[in-house]
Each structure stands twice: as C-alpha cells, then as structure tokens.
Subunit: 332 residues, 2 copies
Amino acid sequence: MTTSPHITVLCGGVGAARFLRALSTAIPPSHITAIVNTGDDTVLHGLHISPDLDTITYTLANAIDPDRGWGLIDESWRTLEALHRYGQVRPAGSRAGSTWFGLGDQDLATHFYRTARLQEGASLTDVTSEIASAWGLDFRLLPMTNDPAPTKVVVDTNDDPGAAGDGQISFQEYFVRHRHSIPVRELRLGASSAQPTREAIDALTTADAVVIAPSNPFVSIGPIRALPHVDQILAKRRTTVVAISPLVGGDAVKGPAADMMATFGFQSDSVGIAEIYRDVCSHLIIDSKDTSLAAEVELTGMTTTVTNTMMGDTQVDANLARLTLAAADIAS
Amino acid sequence: MTTSPHITVLCGGVGAARFLRALSTAIPPSHITAIVNTGDDTVLHGLHISPDLDTITYTLANAIDPDRGWGLIDESWRTLEALHRYGQVRPAGSRAGSTWFGLGDQDLATHFYRTARLQEGASLTDVTSEIASAWGLDFRLLPMTNDPAPTKVVVDTNDDPGAAGDGQISFQEYFVRHRHSIPVRELRLGASSAQPTREAIDALTTADAVVIAPSNPFVSIGPIRALPHVDQILAKRRTTVVAISPLVGGDAVKGPAADMMATFGFQSDSVGIAEIYRDVCSHLIIDSKDTSLAAEVELTGMTTTVTNTMMGDTQVDANLARLTLAAADIAS
C-alpha cells in the first residue's frame, strides 16, 4: 500500500491510550480513529465525566500523569479536599459530596466544558472532537454512542450495603470506590439499548483495518460490541480485524480483566481472550511471555503474532505498531 | 422583652452578610432568619450557583475573602485557569468554557454539593440548611424560593452584542461579565412567577421584627418583594419592619444601586430608598453622612434613625444592631 492506511481502534482507557500512541509511530494520527467506550461515563457533582475519553485525550496530549496513569500531570486537589466538609453533612441516602472519585482541579475544566456543551444540546461526538482539538490532537476520537449507555455491575450486597436491592452499582462505584476488589456477579451493559453513532459505524465500515486495543474485553470492549450492528460489521470484515491481548502471563497489565475472565467462564489468559474475540476477529497479538499459548490460540481459529506487548518503550511501541499493521496485511 | 426576639432579615449579598454578622452581636444567631435573594442564581458549567447565599454563608463563617468581598479566603484558581483552553475551541454561539465568572477551587465544592443534592431531588431550602450546617452556622438561612426565579437585565444591544434580540442578558452577565458598568433599561424579575417557600412565609409572618438589609432595593430586595404574598405580609406588619439604607452620601457602598435609582426614576439617596420601601416599612436607618436627609425621609411617612451604617468595626456593628432592634421597639 503506497498511501498510509486508515485504522479504526476499539478502545477502553489506559491500554488503548498507549496503543494509540504506539500506532501513531507508524501512521499519521489523522489516519487513526478511536471508537471509545462510554459505558464508564458517570455524572458526579452534576458533571458529565467520560473517564476513557479523558484518559485517551490526556495520554495522546502527553499530559497524563505517568505515575497514576489517569488524570493530568502537575495536578492539584483543592476542590476535592474542600468537598470533605460537605460529605459530613449529607443526609442518609445522599451521595452528594462524595470524594472517592478523584477529580483534579485542572481535570475539572474538561468536565465543565463537556457538561456545558451537552446542556447546550451538542452531541458527545461534537464535544469530544472539540476537546481533542483544544489539546491539539490530530487523532480522531469518537465516543461509541451519543446516548447514555451506563455499565452496571451486580455485586454481593454484603460487599456493598449501599447497593440497590439486587446488588446493582455503577461501574465507577465498582471500579474506583471498591478499587475493583469485590467479586462481580453480573454485568449489565446499557450499551445494548443505545445506538452507535453514524461516525462510529462509518469508521468501522470504511477503515482499512480495525484493531481491538489491549483493553478489558468485558467492561471496555464489551460495551462497544454490545451496541447494535457493531458485532455484525466486525464479523463481516473479520479478516481485517486484529486484536491485541490485554493479558500477559495470565494477568492484566492493569485492572480486573483476569478475575472477570474466570467469573464469566473463560480461561484467564490469551486463549480465553481468543475465545471471546474469535467470531469478530481473525488475528490475536499475544505477548512473548505467552509464546507457549500460541498453538492453543490458533485452535480457536485465529492466527497469532507473538511479540513484546508491554508498551512504553519507543522501540517496543514501533514494533507493536508495525506488527499490528502487518497482521492486517496493510503494512504502511 | 425578656427573651431574645426573633428577627427575619431580607437579604442580598455583601451588605446583608455584614448586617447579619452585626445583628448577631445583639441576639443569638439561632434567632436570626435570613431570607435570601436567589434571583442572582445561575447555572454555569452545569453547576447551580447561588451567589448571595454563598456570600452570606462564607461571611458568617468568617471564611470570606475580606479584600474581594466574595469567595473564600486562601482561594486558588486552577480550574478556571485550565478552562481557558476550552474557551478557545468552543463554537460560535456557545458559552461553554466561559471564564468571566470567578469560581475558586475551594468554592467549587459548594456548587458541587448544591448541584448534586438538587439533582437528587432535595429542595434548595434543605440544601442551604445543610451547607450552613457544614460551615457550623447557627443562623437560619433560607432561599426566598425553591423555584427558578432568574433576574434578567435588559441592556442596549450595542453594549452587549451577544444579548438576545431585545437586549436581555442574565443578571450575572450584567453584574460580573460587564462589571455592572453598562446602563440597565429594564429588570425582569423571574421571582414574580415563582412561589416563596413555606419557611420564608412563616419567618416573615412570625418574626418579632423584619429587617430589610442594606442591599440593592431593585436586584437584591426587589426579587424577594416580587414573590407572591411578600409585600402584602410586610404591609400588614409595617410597624415592625425596619430598613437600613444601602446608600451613603448618595452612593452605594458597593454595586450599582445608585445608578439604578436614577434609571428607575428615584432620587439617588436615602430619600429615594424611603420612597421604595414606604408601603412595607415604617422606619429607615440612614447613615450619619445623610443627617440632612432625615427630615425629607420622614415626609414619606417613615420614621428615621441616623447612625454610622458603615459596618466592619465591632463598635459600629454593635451599635447598628442595637439601634435596629430599638427601631422595631424590641430591644433585646
């Protein structure tokens, strides 16, 4: 291929952000479209918060805090500290004045802008593009949907006495407040009753290749796949869909993916990932530590590439990007 | 009177806050009920902001910034600074990412709590009480209404090209963005189609005396009086309603009151104030600088007290409080 290909990437947060940055070492950012999970979105303090979109935006703008992996560098926490005063007076049953969700002072500006624009009637797609532009990004960032699509987690009510009667809590309560340390009984994906955007459908249909980023297959990629039409489009173009396994040596680089694999009846390694993606994806990139799993992955009907997937090093990133394009048979 | 009287005070922002503090030198704060203008309330960045309630709360908690007269002491502005990035990308016609309204990082916590509680279905009355309690206040602070009651200002569209076709802008746009430096053609009080709270009506009816604080009679006291029933209640108990003139030497201590007096056809001094309040109030306290106006004020049918009304000094505050109670014939 003489001109640079267009790649669409299905994205969660941290792992996807790092992959997008890696991919931009091989093709121009303007040829990269990210379709981003919004199942994690939440409203706190009246503000519309889109954690995965923000993690990706801040990472690609080189403004992410490298130690935390989320939020902005050189951040301060004055508002959150001041909020403690109010957490102490809220009546029983109220969640106002909660401080368990980290919102830095600079980060708040992003939520202010998004909330104000949505209240003005702008779509999340438009607002996301404006925010990316404010950070000088050439990547095309798309929320998976403009509709509310909240992921709910059902847990044991002994683990969260504040949960609804059947144990349902919001994703952020599970992920941040409980630090994803309590067992998940069930996921309820609001995405299944939302509509993917026209822009997302176009990007999935017209890209030279689609990549499933190394994100949690249930709570990051799962909501995108739960949207109407998405799996059918992927299945139809399966030969040009490549996934990167988020599991290395049977564990997630970050987050609760490995535990969820077992909970939902999958082998907690890249073989389980292959089972989850086999119908919509023809090729799985697995980490060198999992070389021994390659043959078992291929039994699921996927071809494999084995390489170092632990991003962050310039050489590793460039190599992973090159091999991803090669796997889709579209070397740049 | 052997037990301490109960006083209800009609309040705007800064001048009222200082008067409430002064009054608490004479009677216990728990006997003081403030009915506070919410015509200045606005929604910015998705947050419900109640400037007069906050100025009063912060002042009575000794947490107000003494130089600015609004907002919290030791404040920082990280969020507002970060918001500039977004103001530069907003589309034409959008007001998202606006930075003209000063919102300090600590102050934001108050707006977060209020917004979250209102979204949970709490009334502004309940939330105001919770916020006062978070600051350890014994005063009873009541918003004048739980309903939206926005004051709109009509200006010349040459003075604000972003105004609606007939020149209508929000009160905060006039007051903060334009620093109340452009002429007002008309005030439109949303309060006239709102309902006073039951608590406010009770406080007006049952207090031993009602005091009209030294606040702007048009945009601070005006909205409270524009609520249904309020003027009738005040007129009925006129002999126990006392006002403190906000004008000293023909000028307002703070804000645009003097200019507005002329605009709306009143003499720009305490005589004009008397004309505005004469039907609902029997006694006007005017500043010693205006001693020469006392006779003219009394021609409107009000009695007068002449004293130093420039609060801030312990002795002046105590004296003003004592004279206010004496004027209502209820020395504590």
